[in-house]
Amino acid sequence: MIKRFLVLLLVLSMGVMFSQLLVGYSPDRQLNATAHYYATQTASETGAANIVSAIIVTYRGLDTLGEVTVLFLAAAIVGMVLSAKQGGQSPTSASEAERQLPPYPPVGELLATGTQLLVPLILMFGAYVIVNGHLTPGGGFQGGAILASGMLLLLLSDPLRTIGHRLISVVESFSGLAFVLLGILGLLLAGGFLDNKILPLGTFGSLFSAGAIPVIYIFIGLKVGAEFSSMLLNLAKTEER
């Protein structure tokens, strides 16, 4: 009880601090210098119509690289933790052991058919969101998450489906590597690490524009999709029956 009270007291003190922040806050009337620069210069510098995408992929590309790495790390650690579960056994023999467990009850007709129908559409939608990231709301992260939701659906309809672990891991690593290499290309060919001007900026507002942004976004999308899928796959294996 005392502990609850103490926690309440602390949380309320935090609340007081937050309220001070709130009181001191007044919304900007004008864009600040940084935002103003982005609003006026993005189009000419990066050729991207979606300013947020330009910021994510180019201006703050280093953050995004870190972000992708966070996912990579999370996926790798989830894999490490869950494969360590079997102790000395290697992951392959463990999944064989799982194979011999009694099968799941059959999935419903609706889910099975729905999956067959929807997965290609979902994948296509994901791809669309990814490649249009520099023009419209969306991008690699959003698209990658959509791709992974297709994977989730596949897993739901057949929990024992083995979706090439190896393939996912190759896609994951390859796209990550490609991201880094593109960044280095920027360093070598253009103005700095992750500069998108290594490719021509193209016509503003068209699909093939904004230099390397779409290319990077594709790799990000692939990587995010692969990361999420690998996490899902690993977590699926933990389900107990």
């Binding site: 103490l6 926690v7 602390l10 949380v11 003190s13 935090m14 601090m17 001070q20 922040l21 001191g24 806050y25 900007d28 600040n32 210098a33 940084t34 935002a35 620069y37 982005y38 210069q41 510098e45 180019t58 201006y59 703050r60 590309g61 280093l62 953050d63 690289l65 870190g66 972000e67 790495t69 966070v70 990579f72 790390l73 999370a74 790798a76 650690i77 894999g79 490490m80 933790v81 360590a84 190896r166 190759v170 994951e172 690593s173 390859f174 990550g176 590597l177 880094v180 290499l181 960044g183 280095i184 920027g186 360093l187 103005g191 700095g192 690490f193 992750l194 500069d195 998108n196 001007k197």
Partner: protein
Amino acid sequence: MVSALSFIALPLGTAFTLGLLPQGMQRVNYLLTLLALALLSLIAASWLLAFAAGEIATQQIFTAGTTPPFSINLQIGMAEAAGLLLLNLTGLLSVIYLRDTLHQQGARAMAVLLIFIMALSGIVLTRDLFNLFVFIELTTIATGGLILLSHDKRALGAGFKYLVATQIISITLLIGTIFLYHDSGTLNIDGMAAGGLITGESLALFLVLIALILELKPFPANGWALDIYESAHPAFSAILSAAAATAALFAVDRLLLVGSNSWLPLATAVGVVSFVGANLLALVQRNDRRILGYSSIAQMGLLLVVVGQRDILGESYLFIAGGILLAHAIAKAGLFWLSGIIVARDLSDWRALQRNPLYIFAFATFIAMLVGLPPFPGFYAKWDLVHLLAAHDRIALLLALLFASLLEALFLFRWFGYVIKGEANPEGIICARNKLGVIAAATVAAWGVAYLWGEMALQGNLLYSIPLLAALAFLLLEWLAVPYKNVLAISVLLGWFVVNYADYNPLQLIFAVIILVGGPLILLSSFYARGRRIGFYPATMLMFAGMAQLIVAKSSFDFFAAWEILTIGSYYLILRGKASEPHAISYIIFSLGGAFLMLTGFALAAAGDLNFLLSNLSEVAPAVAPWVFLLLAIGFMTKTAAIGVHIWLPGAHAEAESDVSPMLSGILLKAGLFGLMVLMLEMGRQSLYGVDLTHVMLWIGALSALLGNLMAAFQEDAKRLLAYSSIAQLGYALFGLALMNHLGWLLALMFVINHFIYKSMLFLSVGGVAKRTGTRLMYRMGGLITLMPLSFIAVLIGIIAVSGVPPLSGFGGRWIFYNAIMTAEYRLPLIIIFLAGPIAFLYLFRLIHTIFLGQLKDEHRQLREAPFWMILPQMIFVACLMVFALVPGLALKRVDHYLLQYFPEGGLSWDGLTITSHFGYWSPISIMVIVGVIFMTLFAWLLFVNRRAQKVKQFNIVFAAERPFRPETTHFAWNFFAPYRKALGFLTEPLVTRFWDAIGEALHSLAELLRRFYNGNGQTYSVHLLAFVVITFLLARGVS
């Protein structure tokens, strides 16, 4: 220069490549990881070299082809390059160390490790606040993964606690970041600092800052971190402690730029609480890794203080911060790596290191480095830090830091004591070649940075000092047998004396003779030892090196360094004794405590001058001069074991080896006297609040003499008796100095010489007897006169000299003494010191009577004389005493003249062999003759009277049919002076011992109480964390 971006791109690229390789290629994966980290270390080294050579200036690295604040930029300068080298090297060595674990865990673990190092490098490099957040989160998640490398099942729970804590930190950080952006319109840290839109009042800034400080795991909001240190794989803990903490420190340092230094006091306050608190709690720990965790937190606290004080540190900032940081990182990583080869977790399990002296050497290096002993970087850094703090009147902070350093030294040296002493479990250590290689690399790095910091230091490189090098050279000669090493040691000492003979002034010469000629004389007795006697010679030579440097030191820095060196050497010598561990620890703590007071005194005197000359002590500003005098005097008196700070001495001298005790008593104690002489010559009389400090010293000297003698009288242990007698003798010397007149000083110097000769001799003879009889308790001996006649002669001559009766040199001392006090105006301390005289007879009589006279014990009938090598120096000492008794002018005449320049009044006149003062004259030769005649007459008469006496055999006694309760109580010599004890025993109540024990007890109880605070519950830890934020906020607001 390879672009600094490679610190991010290269490890990331490698990590992603590892995933591309087919499974089962662990060897290739491992090699790739190794290669990447090695390459990064090389790149960092090349940057560092370029900066050090001044070829390049600090560089900005832009990304995305745009300038900040619109894109993220990195910055690399000297400090960053050094940080990166540290991070990547730690990573590289840890990967080598983790070879087997990584092979087992596979590519994923290697990738996570690479990314961890990458993220730490990112924290060091980035100048963008949000980017900093991303890298911090990366380290958090990677930590979550790497904790799992541990085989310890408990690590899982610890990891979860850690994740919970970091969630709260990252919430705080993000909220602060976005509001900082809103207020300043930029995410660039330099932009925020330059823009001036963020004031010190900014709450958002506080949130970001406190979040970054929390990444340093400050006390007490750090339970989660301690659990990780305890349970994670030691190699990971090494990275966490050495590398991750370093990176976090860079982040804090950078962010403090914002708001124009207004949060520096906060950093200082949190730092000092951490430094004191963590060191205090470490006192009661027994788990090695947890104690290292506490020590890491403490060191981070210290560094936070340095960061918080950077406004006054000026140009020395990087030198100080870098010195402490590197010392911490290398030592801590080294110790964590060492802990990985030790099987069990208790501190005493580290005894397994005894298997190989090289392990002990590595361990000792790391401990010395952590404590900040010379010649390691922490020593230079602390010296500068303390001086600058003192120069800016931040005395309270300085004292808090020194107090905490003392606590740190206490638990570290206690640990060292456990390791050196006691039986080792041969199975307690598992050596793999890769792990040993890593530990060796850390040891080499430790000495490397020691050299480097010496090169950079204003005061000159300690490693160029020849005596120190000679002492270290003995480490390399450890494989030789004792006789060779002994010959070498003796010739080195004598050689050094001969080389420097011409440069000594008469005062220095007296000490030089005692150290460099007296030392070898005592070392003669070391020939009796067999085997290699590992550890003895480096320690002895270290002590002598310190002493030799001490007497010629010109600047306060040299003096202090020499003081520390002789302390380390003597500490190790004391520790070698049989049951000496508790005494060694109390010795080192009192010595370091005294040294810290000295350091404060020097710092106050120097007023910011980092290379202060001792000769300038006379020109210290009058406002601080008495304080300087007080601090330095107390510091020196801990070494002379003046009453009040004497409790380390009896045990240390009694338990030490037979040839070590004379060195400690005869030579080591003189260091304190020398210091006092230098101090009093330079500063003269000082009074504080109207009290004449020399008068206080007079009292201390008198009380030391009285109580020392009294306590000596009640000892059963012969060596303890001599030890207490040393306290008393140095009390006389102190008294003489404090008289502040010519004769007083002559008296003190007379005591310096006399005490060296007879105390060394007595310790040697008693040591020889103890060696033969196997005990030091006097009531277990008796009647040894016939079996050990030479030892008897030495003791007889010794006690005649000590007691100050004619004809030996002790009488000369007394004669000068009486002359000296007649000229002084203080009466009461005078009476006390008179009283002390007769008491000396009591214990001296007992010494010779109980050991050599009376009945021979049955079990001692087969005893032989002490070993030749122990008798030889005694006989030489006897000869010296005789010569000195006959011609005291040999040494004293020159000093007498020398003293005239300081005390022109009251010199003696040296007329041939007769010495004349105001009150009378002293002719040593005639005294010798007269006393000789009286003695011979009495002796002849005794023989005549006793010619028919019947010899009584031991068992020729009829006992009553009574069974003694304790056998020794039937011995006449047991509790010999019981009546005196009844009368005067209240004076020997161990009040001082009780006082210090109570302090120690209180500290330990406090620590025991406070540690309950860490109840192991992850939620409670989070509450601590939140409470820390809130309370810090309230305090900060309350203050400003």
